[in-house]
Symmetry: C2
Subunit: 124 residues, 2 copies
């Protein structure tokens, strides 16, 4: 596959793919003319990359994780890193849930205020 195909299949820009290659996140062979050629599974790989980015991992961390993500093989040290990131994710999700709850209560108050005809029972 050429770069444009992979890009549209994975939903990213060609610029992003070149950037990923530079960060060692993906690899490519070259055509005789020098154009990048990818194997089809690159698309899946790129999707993983997007997921991990969205989860707040840096490209440096993703580079560490990707091999083990595909092979399912990891040394004890890598397992610890994986656990750490998973736990960080858990913490983050808890924080988000709390924030969401507070935002929701603000919303409830605002909606309640909005249902009052502007000044009903507003003062004593």
């Amino acid at each position: 596959m050429r770069i444009g195909e992979v890009a549209s299949a994975a939903g990213v820009s060609t610029r992003a793919l070149r950037y990923y290659e530079q960060q060692q996140l993906i690899a490519s062979s070259r055509s005789t003319g020098g154009q990048r050629l990818y194997t089809p599974d690159t698309v899946e790989r790129v999707r993983w990359i997007q997921l991990l980015y969205a989860a707040g991992l840096s490209s440096r961390t993703i580079v560490e994780f990707l091999p083990c993500v595909h092979t399912g093989i990891a040394g004890p040290e890598m397992i610890a890193r994986l656990r750490a990131e998973r736990d960080r994710l858990d913490d983050h999700m808890r924080d988000l849930a709390a924030t969401r709850a507070r935002l929701d209560s603000v919303l409830a108050a605002a909606e309640f205020g909005a249902t009052r005809p502007a000044g009903e029972a507003a003062e004593v």
Copy 2:
């Protein structure tokens, strides 16, 4: 309160507080000598700011939300914005949960491999 007190109370740097003021997120009066003076509720406000930042909101958005967060008053348009952000948060949390699950299954596979004494039942 002076800037240092607020900073340590809220767990941010003084630089951050000056930045927030520049972004209109917080306000301050000045001492005769020109030093910033804050009311105690600024601490709470800064905590809110941190929460919303962590939730992925930009300072521009936070500036819109903060008044209504404190007063509980919002026009219909603001209520729509609040709902939109809450929903975005929900979506994001779902994505994170999915990613966490996939990461966890990778971990499970890796841990399983690690419990095998290196080559037991690995090949047929």
